[in-house]
Every structure is written in structure tokens, then in C-alpha cells.
Symmetry: C2
């Protein structure tokens, strides 16, 4: 498919006509509103909706809102209708209503470099899972020893925990190094202060569009149908705080200070051609978790790190979301099956995605193996954990024939901890 929008047909463009990811943006002085990325531009859906060029199907307007939740809440039929309509408006040879109207075009099509991007969704709840077998094994080995690395439940349950929705932020937001309690190995008791083992975690995030009802179980197929799309997700982690706090009730303040997501929600529809099956089961799953078909996606993922003042970033990890042992649909089915009501806007982190080789691990903890094998950067520096000023950027894309479905960037820079006089 070709678009008449300049730049959308380049083979390395993240946002071709096949993608059409949703986000929130504003021009200077404007309020946030919903848009779709196409080429180097964002299409202002509020303008299109107001002018009658698109109609999502609800009783009221949905795209003038600062998040895409109201649109998601209209459900899969509306998602399909708007995607088909946008494709028609943006395709070469399609409906000329938009490209034929110079005035409309100037109002509706805005260069990406002229806008500020907001959080695409209002996050209802944030849940983080633990679905990469290699990551679970790596971290388990470091925290509990190789003999107890993989917990006995891991091959049976998509293990997860509730995260903190209030600190999910959009790509580009600076991240302050957290304060917290940690217990240095040699110390008799804990100390309080800035984390000294700050890390990133490379994850995918699934966005729930269709809610479930309290007390009513759902199937994996129903869960898949409830998912609106996916984002890149960096689950920033303070490893020293985590090690000291996580028993017996799980990670808490080690993960609560920030979670960054990419500004564009890539729809499930756009990723449909890239479906792949989960890896072979090592133990049979209980029937409620069995997959009706391929539920993962073949998405290339990369992590780049740029120290303060450095001109170029170093790519320190390359992996793929197909390494996950559980799909988002399986995680969501497990989440809801006991009666937990899922909401439009819920965000489900996949868990850190680590492939089988060292260069494919999704956290510094693993890449530098607990500080024992520091990662070398192009600047000549090394890293065991993140330093103040470091900028971490996640990228991801599914590779089609002559096009890619890209996620854009998920980036954040580490700020120093609050000054000691403030605590």
C-alpha cells in the first residue's frame, strides 16, 4: 500500500500506511488531542472528527480528548471502522476528501517535529508480568542462586504483580533517581539514600481496550479480543531497593518511581501479519491458559544508552518479543479469570524481554551480570548500572515486505536524586 503523504512510503519509516498508531499530541499553546502518526506527520483526529471526515460511531466526539480512552471504549467495531476510513483517506487512489482540501490539510496534518507528544492513554491500572524465561532464569540466579532460579510456579502461571499507574509517563520525561532503603551486603542494617543500582527493563506493554466484568472469568481468545494495541515500555528499576524490599510481598518502591511508555499505541490490527506462536511448552498448561492460535508478535527490539554529553548512543541489546513464554492475551486471561475487573486503559507490561544470548538481555543487571561484566560503550566508558545523565532509548519494529510497523522511541534520561537537604 502506498500513501500520498510524503515520507510514509520510505522502507525504514516507522509510520507507514499499514501502521496508523494512535497517540496524544499538541501544537504550541493547544490542548492535547488524539492523533495518528503517518510518515513524518501526525494527523489531527479531532479536526477530522469535527469536520465530519471521520466518525468513530459513538454518540459524542472522542478525539478532542487528551487520551485515546474514549475511542478505545467504543470497542472493536469502531476500531475497525476508523482504521478502514483512515486508510481510505490516506492511501494513493483513496477518498480524496482530505488531500483535495488545502485548508483542511494544513489544519489536520502537522509535522511531528512541531508537536509535543503526551501520554497516549489514561492508565487505569498498571500490571507488570514476568514472561521471559531467560530473564526469570537470569534474575532468579542472581537473587536466589542457580538451583532456585526458576520458581516452581513459573511454567504454570503468567507471574505478575500490580504496579503503580500514577507514575507511568510518556517517552521524553526525565526520570529522577529514587531514594529508598537498601542494605549493603557488608552492613548490619539498612541505609537510606539514592539508589546506587538503577536499571532499565525492556518490555512491551499491552493496552486493554475492552473491559471485563467483576466476578466473571474470560478465555484467552476473549482476552486477545480485548487488547487494543501495544507500546514499548521501560520499567525503570532500583535493584538495591528491590533486593531488600521484595520479600515477601514483591517489588514495590523499587519500581514505583517511574515507568516510561512510547507515545504511540500500535494497534493489534497493524501487528496482525506478524503473529507468531509462543515457544514450545516445557510443561502442559492448564486449559484456561491454552492458546487458540499464534498470540505473540515478531517484533525486533533494541536498547541504546547515551551518557551525558556523548554525541552518539551505543546499542547495548538487541532482542525480539517472540522470546516471551506467555503472550499478553494469556496474561490478561489469567489476570481476569479469578473475577478481577479489567478496565479500558489498563496497561500490562510483558516483563523484561531477554533472548537466549548475552547481547539479547533486556536489563543492565543481566547485560553486566550483576556488575561482574560491565558493558562497554562506544565512548570507552563502561556501565554496570545507570549513571546520572544517562539516556536510555528503546526502539521496536515489525519488519514487513518493504515496510515496517514501528513503535517510535521510548526514551528517558536519568536526573540526579533529590539533594540531601530535601530529605
Amino acid at each position: 500500500m502506498r500513501s500520498w503523504i510524503e515520507g510514509a512510503n520510505a522502507p525504514e519509516c516507522d509510520f507507514p500506511l499499514e501502521n496508523l498508531p494512535y497517540g496524544a499530541f499538541r501544537r504550541r499553546g493547544e490542548r492535547l488531542r488524539c492523533g495518528v502518526a503517518i510518515g513524518d506527520h501526525v494527523l489531527d483526529l479531532a479536526v477530522l472528527e469535527e469536520s465530519g471526515l471521520i466518525h468513530a460511531g459513538g454518540r459524542t466526539a472522542v478525539f478532542a480528548a487528551p487520551h485515546i480512552n474514549a475511542f478505545m471504549a467504543l470497542g472493536p467495531a469502531a476500531w475497525r471502522r476508523v482504521r478502514a476510513r483512515l486508510t481510505d483517506l490516506l492511501a494513493e487512489g483513496g477518498d480524496p476528501s482530505l488531500r483535495g482540501e488545502r485548508g483542511m490539510l494544513a489544519r489536520a496534518l502537522v509535522p511531528l517535529k512541531e508537536v509535543e507528544l503526551g501520554l497516549p492513554i489514561k492508565v487505569a491500572g498498571y500490571t507488570d508480568f514476568y514472561a521471559s524465561r531467560q530473564h526469570a532464569f537470569n534474575v532468579g540466579t542472581m537473587f536466589r542462586g542457580a538451583g532456585n532460579a526458576l520458581p516452581p510456579n513459573w511454567l504454570h502461571i503468567p507471574i505478575g504483580y500490580n504496579g503503580r499507574a500514577s507514575t507511568v509517563v510518556v517517552s521524553g520525561t526525565d526520570i529522577r533517581r529514587p531514594l529508598g532503603q537498601r542494605k549493603p551486603p557488608e552492613a548490619a542494617g539498612p541505609v537510606f539514600g539514592p539508589s546506587t543500582r538503577l536499571d532499565f527493563e525492556l518490555e512491551m506493554g499491552a493496552v486493554v481496550g475492552v473491559p471485563s466484568r467483576m466476578g466473571e472469568p474470560i478465555t484467552v481468545a476473549e482476552a486477545d479480543a480485548m487488547i487494543f494495541g501495544y507500546v514499548l515500555l521501560n520499567d525503570w528499576s532500583a535493584r538495591d531497593i528491590q533486593a531488600w524490599e521484595y520479600q515477601p510481598l514483591g517489588p514495590f518502591q523499587a519500581k514505583a518511581f517511574a515507568t516510561t511508555i512510547s507515545p504511540w499505541v500500535v494497534t493489534k490490527a497493524a501487528l496482525e501479519p506478524f503473529r507468531v506462536s509462543t515457544p514450545p511448552r516445557e510443561k502442559p498448561l492448564l486449559p484456561y491458559l491454552c492458546e487458540p492460535g499464534p498470540l505473540l508478535h515478531d517484533i525486533h527490539l533494541e536498547v541504546a544508552l547515551r551518557p551525558a554529553g556523548a554525541e552518539r548512543a551505543t546499542t547495548i541489546a538487541r532482542t525480539n518479543s517472540r522470546h516471551l513464554y506467555y503472550s499478553a492475551a494469556q496474561q490478561l486471561a489469567h489476570h481476569a479469570v479469578g473475577g478481577c475487573r479489567m478496565e479500558c486503559g489498563d496497561l500490562l507490561g510483558s516483563g523484561t524481554i531477554s533472548g537466549p544470548e548475552k547481547g539479547s538481555f533486556g536489563s543492565l543487571l543481566e547485560l553486566a551480570w550483576d556488575g561482574r561484566e560491565p558493558v562497554r560503550l562506544a565512548t570507552g566508558e563502561t556501565r554496570s548500572f545507570l549513571e546520572d545523565g544517562d539516556e536510555v532509548t528503546l526502539r521496536g519494529w515489525a519488519e514487513g515486505e518493504g515496510y515496517r510497523i514501528g513503535f517510535g522511541e521510548c526514551t528517558g534520561r536519568v536526573l540526579p536524586a533529590p539533594a540531601e537537604r530535601d530529605w
Copy 2:
């Protein structure tokens, strides 16, 4: 203090003039709005606000909303102003504007038995702590053995985890027995189906009224000032699901199916005369957790259980919130100190409150000691865990001289799990 409202001056009334707890209610056919409980009545704050009898101080009306969040968001000065005004309007010898106006009185004062009560707050985030030393010791002994009962961090950190906000429901809501994975001790692998070890947990819930900023630490004194009030909280728990899932990331589906809170938020102001200190520290706390004064409250707590069809409930536990080792202010300070943004409407569960003796334990797991010493009910039946049809009711009050600050009831009835054809 005496009120001219009938019933508010009875010594065993939960809602005297000294209390004035906030909630949400509706008459038949109406929308939910905010109210205050007084005697056997609820005072319609939306009517008072509309007629100009009270003014919370914001630019727009706050009491016609279905939750008290907008009022809480106005902050402590507004809380004090409205409390003082309501006291004046309701006290014998106070401002006659309300009691002198027959028509107004009929519209604004509604018998409690004629209204339906809603969830008082829109829950932004729900966090559950683990602050009773006896409970942590009891459960730790059962899950990990007496030698590892109290985790090494417990005396240093107010341990907590993020819960699920979407399933916090108001007292009176039926609770469906959850489905989930559990591993019977004798089985080789896990099975899926209804929980067979369903339990309650007696807790207090603190309601955050004033938000904090992302990346900025707060002190314990600031945390105390951020709290609007308190509710009773039943953190329903599926012990079999919990035992199998909770390693290594904490409780998840075992707690996600339901959490019940009482319909009235008792303000911090009403509880001020009942301040008590936390118990002596067994190990010194890090400075960021040290208390500037007495931060707990002396609140009597009871749990009653009524089997299906029984006329009377049996009180199976009596305890007091003064047994908590950490206060809500300490928990909130710990929660926010690493940079986690706290929101207006956040709900913080204290953790199960167990006193030193067996009759003061706050869960069936502890009262029946892991099923080994079943609890005897007045009906002659016994309970190790909850059965379908059981109704659990929490009650709580602070005992003043000639009056009590009551919380009303926090009650819920167990419904059978979904039928097997539905899963």
C-alpha cells in the same frame, strides 16, 4: 456536643455530631451525590451546597458528584471550613438556617434506611500494607515456618504491595468466590477451579486527600497532613491461590477479586482525640520513618460471621488498630519518598490487624490456625475458611466520653464461584 438531630446523641450511635463522616448516597431514582451521616440520617451536601448553606471554597460545586474526591482535592483548609460549618448547622444552639427551614430540612435530611450507599471515593490507586507484627508473624509461621516467620526487612520497612483498585467495592456488595490456580499439597502439579480457602482480612484503610509530586520525597508529618480520613477495609483473600502464586513477585490474583470498604470515610479530624503512639520500636527506624507524634488511633474493631440462613452473626474476633506497628502516615511517607506520585483518592490498607491473643486475630487463617483449630459459631457450625453464603461484617469505633466515633458496617456475602460450564 449535642445535635438537634434525633438519634445523634445516643451514646451508642455511630454518627454523633463529633463524627460527621463523608460518603456517597442516593434516594431511589436519583444519582449518587455526597452526604454526611448524622444520627440515623444522611445530610444531603449537594442540596446544602446548591442552596448556599455550605460553600466548600472551590470555584465549582463539589458535592453533586458521585464521590467525595473533588471535595478532598480542595485540601485541608476546605476540610476544616466545611466541618466547622456543618457542626454549626447541626449543633443545638448553632446556626438555625437548616433546622428552621421545614422545606429545606425535608429535602436535605434523609433517613439512612431510605438510601442506597455508594463507594465514597473514586479509588485512584489501592495499596495494601502488612503492618501488624502479630499478623506478619502468624502468617509467616504458617507459610515459611517459625524460624523464618518475620522477614529480615520487616522491622525496618512498612512492607506493602500495590493492589487492584478496580475491584474495591462498597459494603453490601456480594463477593463471588474466585477461580484460580492452586496446588494441593499432595498433587504433582497445579489445578484450576474455585478457591477452597477463602478468607477475610480485617484492616483499616487510609484515604489520601492531598497528592504528592513525582520525584519529590515527603516527610512523615507531611504524609499525615495528606490523609483525609479512614475506612474499614476487608481485603478478601484466597489463601490457596496466594500460597501457590506469591513467589517471587507477591500476592496477585489471590487478592484481586474484591476488596470491600465501609461506606463512610471518618475524617482524621474526628479521630484526633483518639491518637495513640505506635508500640515501642524493636529496632530503631531510619530517620525518614520517625514519627513526629502519636500517629495511630485507638479504634475498637470486631469481625462477625453469619452463615447463610442463620438469624444471628457470631463475633469471632475483637481487636484494636493500636496494635499496628506502622501508622498510615509512616506507610504513606515510605510509599512516596522514592518519588512515587500519590493521588487524591489513593487508598492505603493497613494490613490485617491482629492483636496478641488468639481471639484478636484479624483473619480466619489465623483464628483457625491454618485449619487446625476451626472456629466455632453460635449456630454450632465450625469454620476453617469461608463457605458460600457466609456474610462477614467488620465494625469499628473509637470510644469517647458519652459518644463514639463509629465507622458503620463493612459487610459482604460470599456467592458461589461461577458454574463450571462458564469456564
